[in-house]
């Protein structure tokens, strides 16, 4: 259901319609969540990848949800505040790497 998605260049400027990781999105970016994965992204979250995956899903990071990045923190531009459908949620970029969003074409 959520497999083959090409890795886009991490540094590539997010162009309209591009699919990017939520962890690299900038304030003002908006789009639709197209994939929430488990196990792709290595790195330490303090919990298992599966647990992180389930927590993201529980907070409503599911395929099809509308998302917009609202704010970012002062240090390393982290964490980020997003609007997810009608809610606002704060999360760290590190934990957002497995959420893929397709940016709106203007």
């Amino acid at each position: 259901m959520h497999d083959t998605l090409a890795e886009p260049e991490k540094t590539a400027a997010a162009t309209d319609g591009a699919t990017v990781r939520l962890s690299v999105a900038k304030p003002g970016d908006r789009g639709v969540i197209v994939d929430v994965q488990a196990g792709r992204q290595s790195g330490d979250h303090g919990v298992s990848v599966d647990e992180l995956h389930r927590r993201l899903l529980e907070f409503g990071f599911v395929e099809g949800a509308r998302i917009e990045v609202l704010h970012e923190g002062a240090i390393w531009r982290d964490p980020i505040a997003v609007r997810l459908d009608d809610m606002r949620i704060g999360l760290r970029r590190r934990d957002a790497a497995d959420v893929w969003i397709q940016l709106d074409a203007e």
């Binding site: 488990a38 790195g43 330490d44 979250h45 303090g46 919990v47 599966d50 992180l52 995956h53 389930r54 927590r55 993201l56 899903l57 529980e58 907070f59 409503g60 599911v62 395929e63 099809g64 609202l70 704010h71 970012e72 923190g73 002062a74 240090i75 390393w76 982290d78 964490p79 505040a81 459908d85 009608d86 809610m87 606002r88 949620i89 704060g90 999360l91 760290r92 590190r94 934990d95």
Partner: protein, 634 residues
């Protein structure tokens, strides 16, 4: 304040007419406000057996003569519990708590303007099989926004009755109680519990189902809330957000110390006067000494901090209800994350500036055990208000009141430095712990940023009252035995007839002090200081009175001026500075150790805390003393 909103009917004694109701729902949906509206002042707080999460229960007498006992549970997004708080919610709902029957009816409390996540929780709750009512709370806000909810359709889709409520204005409460009663009267026994931890696929499926229900029954608001977005533009801004946070903290501390000073002083004087009264009217002897030096000064030394703690909590509860605290955690997460602390550790550490005891008690919101333990371990390094009398005494004795750079006073700078030392060392200890012992990242930071709401004063005051009560009972039961122990050590055996030194010198505490003195000599402590440290274990500020006792200066805590003069004659500057350094780190507070024991349910962590803080204190005092001596201040 009105009591239960329903006419109180005579209580029936038949146990079958009583029912147990539990309030569940997402955080910030208004469970506590609804609990207050339902039960009024008929509430009591206790502990769940074996865990330290507070159990808030209240009673409602219904018109049919039934008594409903209502349980207010911590908010959660899922029954898949993670923090100690959420475990209680899950176990209460599933009826797994030791010694407690499962609730007869669940009231699921939902924020009507934010239904998506709670719909998924409802699907989980349905699997538990208990009869359930959905309280669609914050209906006033939903109406103001022009949100259109098809109540009948929604009730049909989720398969349970719905009542709209406005908890803060006590609207819909009668209907809610009537619905609960109807379920009980219908003998709704509930189905079998088929709940199990959902996996990722099932969570996705539940979301799709929730989404379908939402789409079918709720039409988007005509006038959605734009206020929160505008305010967040300022409060979450990288620059202005942090500036406002720090200003707020500054104002808060200002208030904690100025507003509560009069009340604290009054309490202190009250206890001194009571002690003096007893001393004047009872014959001198053991009983009098126990009453005045053990009991009254012991209890007094804790209660004088109550006003400060209440003022601090008033701000914290106000900001929490407004919706700001989640933002504060957001702003601080990266700053504290650098030291290996979770953003949620912000509130516990903030509380610790008043007193580490409520700070440590409020770490229960932290999911991860290691994150929570790290926070507990460093909380006592924050400069609690009990250190202030000690700092003030030593500063007035040894730091000349001169101006630095023309404007800043040197004593003020030293005081600031001591606060900074506390914060920096707490971050440092946490950093080192996470690097050496508990490698690996802190828990994910995932936090809902709730919409801003005007806090309701009655609810704020009720929460404040409860927290004050919890502090007094919790702290009291730990502090009192400690005080008695310390009094015993300092009073037995008594001085021999015709002794010239103060009596404490002959006591067990005196002997321990003399025994320890050679160990503390390298940090510049004389035997009087070492002896004073023993009663000072009861609470930090007790050291002031204890120094007064060993230097035979009466009433030292009320008028420290004479004591400061004496100290400046007897101690070198190096010794005074070393004493300050000692007090930044030393675990001179038996009650904190007791609370750590209770919160971690083991003797290991209080022992670790005792050892590491004493070690740091010794090291810091040693470095300060030797450096000062080498620079000619010995």
């Amino acid at each position: 304040m009105t009591d239960a909103t329903l006419p109180t009917a005579p209580l029936s004694s038949a146990p079958s007419s009583n029912a147990r109701i539990a309030l569940v729902g997402n955080p910030n949906s208004g469970k506590t406000a609804l609990f207050n509206a339902l039960t009024g002042s008929r509430q009591k707080v206790a502990n769940y057996a074996g865990v330290t999460v507070e159990r808030k229960e209240g009673q409602v007498a219904t018109s049919s003569g039934r008594t409903l006992s209502i349980l207010d549970l911590p908010g959660t997004y899922s029954l898949r519990a993670r923090s100690p708080d959420e475990v209680v919610t899950r176990d209460a709902v599933l009826g797994k708590l030791a010694g407690e029957a499962p609730p007869d009816v669940l009231i699921c409390v939902a924020d009507a303007t934010n239904l998506r996540l709670v719909l998924r929780l409802i699907l989980e709750l349905k699997a538990v099989g208990r009869p359930m009512v959905l309280a669609l709370n914050m209906y006033d806000i939903a109406q103001r926004q022009g949100l259109r909810i098809d109540l009948e359709g929604l009730a049909r889709d989720i398969g349970c009755p719905i009542v709209t409520t406005v908890a803060t204005r006590k609207r819909g409460i009668e209907d809610l109680v009537a619905q609960v009663e109807a379920l009980i009267a219908a003998g709704a026994l509930g189905a079998e519990n088929t709940w199990h931890e959902p996996d990722a696929g099932q969570i996705r499926g539940a979301h799709r189902e929730a989404q379908r229900i939402l789409k079918a029954n709720v039409q988007a608001a005509d006038r959605p809330d734009t206020f929160t977005g505008k305010v967040d533009g300022v409060l979450l801004h990288p620059v202005s957000g942090l500036a406002i946070l720090f200003t707020l903290l500054f104002v808060m501390f200002q208030a904690v110390f100025t507003w509560s000073k009069a009340a604290g002083d009054l309490l202190g004087e009250g206890f001194s006067a009571t002690g003096a009264f007893i001393a004047a009217h009872l014959p001198p002897g053991l009983l009098t000494s126990f009453l005045t030096d053990g009991l009254i000064s012991g209890v007094g030394s804790v209660l004088v901090f109550l006003p400060q703690i209440l003022v601090l909590f008033f701000f914290i509860i106000l900001l929490e209800d407004f919706g700001y605290m989640a933002r504060a955690a957001f702003l601080m997460d990266r700053i504290m994350g650098g030291a290996g602390l979770h953003g949620r550790a912000f509130i516990p550490l903030l509380s610790s500036f008043a007193c580490a005891i409520p700070g440590i008690m409020s770490t229960r919101v932290i999911d991860n055990k290691r994150d929570r333990l790290t926070t507990i371990m460093v909380a006592p390094l924050m400069t609690c208000s009990a250190r202030i009398p000690v700092y003030t005494l030593i500063i007035s004795a040894f730091i000349p009141n001169v101006k630095v750079a023309g404007v800043l006073s040197l004593p003020g700078l030293v005081m600031f430095g001591l606060y900074a030392a506390g914060i920096v060392s707490a971050l440092g200890v946490s950093f080192i712990t996470r690097r050496l012992f508990w490698r690996g990242a802190v828990e994910p930071f995932l936090m809902e940023l709730p919409t801003y709401k005007l806090p309701d004063l009655v609810n704020v005051l009720r929460s404040l009252y409860l927290r004050g009560k919890i502090f007094i009972t919790r702290a009291g039961t730990i502090i009192l035995p400690m005080m008695i122990l310390v009094w015993f050590l300092s009073s037995f055996p008594g001085a021999p007839a015709g002794a010239s030194d103060p009596a404490i010198n002959y006591s067990l505490a005196g002997r321990i002090g003399h025994l320890l003195q050679p160990i503390l000599a390298p940090i510049g402590f004389n035997w009087q200081m070492t002896v004073a440290l023993i009663p000072g274990f009861a609470a930090r500020e007790v050291a002031v009175a204890a120094l007064g006792t060993v230097y035979a200066i009466g009433n030292a805590d009320a008028s420290p001026g004479a004591l400061a003069t004496t100290l400046s004659h007897h101690w070198s500057i190096a010794t005074g500075l070393a004493f300050l350094a000692w007090y930044v780190f030393a675990p001179q507070c038996a009650s904190t150790i007791g609370v750590v024991k209770r919160e971690t349910n083991s003797w290991l962590w209080p022992a670790v805390m005792l050892v590491y803080m004493t070690g740091l204190a010794y090291l810091a005092a040693f470095i300060v003393y030797q450096t000062a001596k080498a620079s000619g201040l010995g």
